[in-house]
Amino acid sequence: MIDFTLWDIVRNLLLAARWTVVLSLIAFVGGATLGFVLTVLRLSGTKWLRYPINIYVDIFQGTPLLMQMFLAFFGAAALGFNVSAWAAASVALILFTSAFLCDIWRGCVEAVPKGQWQASRVLGMNYLETMRHVILPQALRLSVPPTVGFSVQVIKGTALASVIGFVELTRAGTMLNNATFAPFTIFALVALFYFALCYPLSCYSRHLERQLYDAGLR
């Protein structure tokens, strides 16, 4: 057995944490893009668009992210593709993120007071004009705090990619634990690293929320 110094452990975890960050970014950017498209379709579309999107959102919110990872991984295999753990994790996390953001953003659009729609109607604006000039700019402002807040869920969600074998922070922790048998130190460190990634975002989200509140918008 090799001897690991504390520094070795920290260094290895830090290296693995890069992949947590990369996977988080992929999930967030991909999920936000898809989520935005879904939100727009859900808001403007007919019920033929709205119902399938509602079901999509319900399914991803109503099943474990771990299962979504497994299905992306083994589903691709069943279709005859041989995907890497990292591709499967990306796909699962993007879909997961898009469903949640779609729901969050729809809530923000609905949180814009009804009076804004009525005032726009009375001034002669049609649906698209109202959406573009009145509703979306306000919804966008409302959406920033919960969206930043959700990015924390995405980062934490990437930890599940470890289960299908993608080597990120959590997986690196398990591997180091198998080699060093210092579980207390290692998992405390792993937790600390996640905390260092997530806590600033949580604080920032809360700060933004308070700003909105002070501006009288919430």
């Binding site: 399914i59 992210l65 771990l66 497994f70 589903g75 579980p183 998992f187 937790a191 806590y199």
Partner: protein
Amino acid sequence: MGISLDFMALSPYLGELLRGLFTTVVLTMVTTLAGLMLAIVVAYLRLNAAAWVGMALGGYVELIRNTPFIVQLFFIFFGLPALGIRIDAITAAFLAMTLNLAAYSAEILRAGIESTARGQLEAARALGMSSLQSYRHVVLIPAFSRIYPALISQCIIVMLGSAVVSQISVYDLTYAANFIQSRNFRSFEAYLLVTLIYLLLAIGMRQTFLLAGRRLFAYRQGEHA
């Protein structure tokens, strides 16, 4: 290329599925109860106890909310024994889920309590209630009813998150799926079926909570007529 699904290949494993389902359901029920009770205590102490208690509990809440559940689980199951605290997998799962739910719910509950009208509290004080009495009789139920939807969602999130306890060999629904696919190599079918069961559990849980809510908060009925 084509996809051929064979769900009949799962039928010999009904027993395993039921065993896993049972564990998931029981674990969820017990941790929901324990977690919510703990949350009430934490929320109360954070708002009323000495500053250092509030700080410590705030630290606990933030720590849980900003780290992945799977890491919390591993820390409890693998890490604590290193300190001489030996626990089995199911206890670790119970502990991790309860602590997780309590942290989130305490935060939700705190928001609910803080939004309780000051006038209500002042009325309770004017009637001579102590802080604990006014908390119990005046604050808790309206606060609960206001944050109830958020609380339901959180309990469901914890139930879905419990899929991870299979990773420390708790025989839950996900463990059953892992077990089945290791025997019949029908991994996609196994996971699809189990995913569907989770979905049904989530729907069932929401309905049950809503039903309970209608009885718990009967006084609010007709409010939005």
